[in-house]
Point group: C2
Amino acid sequence: MKSGKLFSKEEANLLEEIILNRRDVRGNHFLNKTIEKDLLDKLLFSALNAPSVGFSQPWEFIIIKNKTVKEKIKQSFDEENHKAIDHFQDKKQKEYIKLKLEGIIEAPINIAVFYKPSDKPVLGQTSMSKMGLYSVVCAVQNMWLTARSLNIGMGWVSILNEEKVKAILNVPKENKLVAYLCLGYVDKFYTQPELELIKWEKRKEKDSVVRIIDNE
Amino acid sequence: MKSGKLFSKEEANLLEEIILNRRDVRGNHFLNKTIEKDLLDKLLFSALNAPSVGFSQPWEFIIIKNKTVKEKIKQSFDEENHKAIDHFQDKKQKEYIKLKLEGIIEAPINIAVFYKPSDKPVLGQTSMSKMGLYSVVCAVQNMWLTARSLNIGMGWVSILNEEKVKAILNVPKENKLVAYLCLGYVDKFYTQPELELIKWEKRKEKDSVVRIIDNE
């Protein structure tokens, strides 16, 4: 190879370990302890170095520490979560009601992540219009892994009304809410997804989701 | 902390290095060298351990090694890329035409990644319907970082006609194409995004995309 860093087997294994240990953290696990400014900067840095279609970097991040703003967002969660209950029946509904599904108030930092459409054509986005949204998700996943490597918990809250969140945060109409993240130190990290532990869903077997079209 | 692995500062720094060195690789850099089965398995393993809304794991992966299938996909790229040219004007159009934007034929392995909607309600997806698609993107980003840690190049091709790709791969109507990936060993990894190097787009300043709503 002419140029570019080569990683060792041990370094690849460490990434695998971070990926395996990443969890979605809810409010019952966040500690009342601030995230240091340099670590918050590291999280944002990892987002800004995510891939983006046509190098468009179509992301905007709003860091929320303000209690009043958090309470308004929490209200949107409560409304949407109340509606969500009706989607589930019988035993599943009873289980759903018991779950703690967000950490908006408990997490010291919330970050709302938006997609901001470009005002000119974007290379690579002319055939698949959602590519800009997908770039923003790549930034979120970089932040999630980085948070875990810094032993910081992160939860992605999606039970929200996008229009209400945009109004609360005074965000331009054309922007799209991609993710609402809760971040903070935690009392523990589960070793498995919480929804796997409580048997809400089973883990899928590799063979059920992978198909190979081989050489003939 | 009661449970869960703690990572060191050095380990967090290594993740940052992998994130910074990840690149989108095009066909003019792929080598004619197969990816070993155990490394391909590692890539898929990282995808299967991505976060997914409600632990729904709504992904399907089709691994394509077959030359005839690749050629059909390449034809869809050529058609879409020809249409894309008209989106750009003057100097940008001349630059666009010169760019190599895919590695479908050159890469030894292509992976088409689909979102498969669930036939029951998904926890966390009742208010924001795109959450399932976003889970699939998280899986792709895990694969991208894992590929880089294994010194394997990956490129995401989005200049494709989704319906044509689905027809070629015989994929059910309800599934959505999220990503078409080209993977293989490379002659080099750029240290910066290629589109930044040729000055197609500038890197955005952190302050232009981050806003803070602080405590009062």
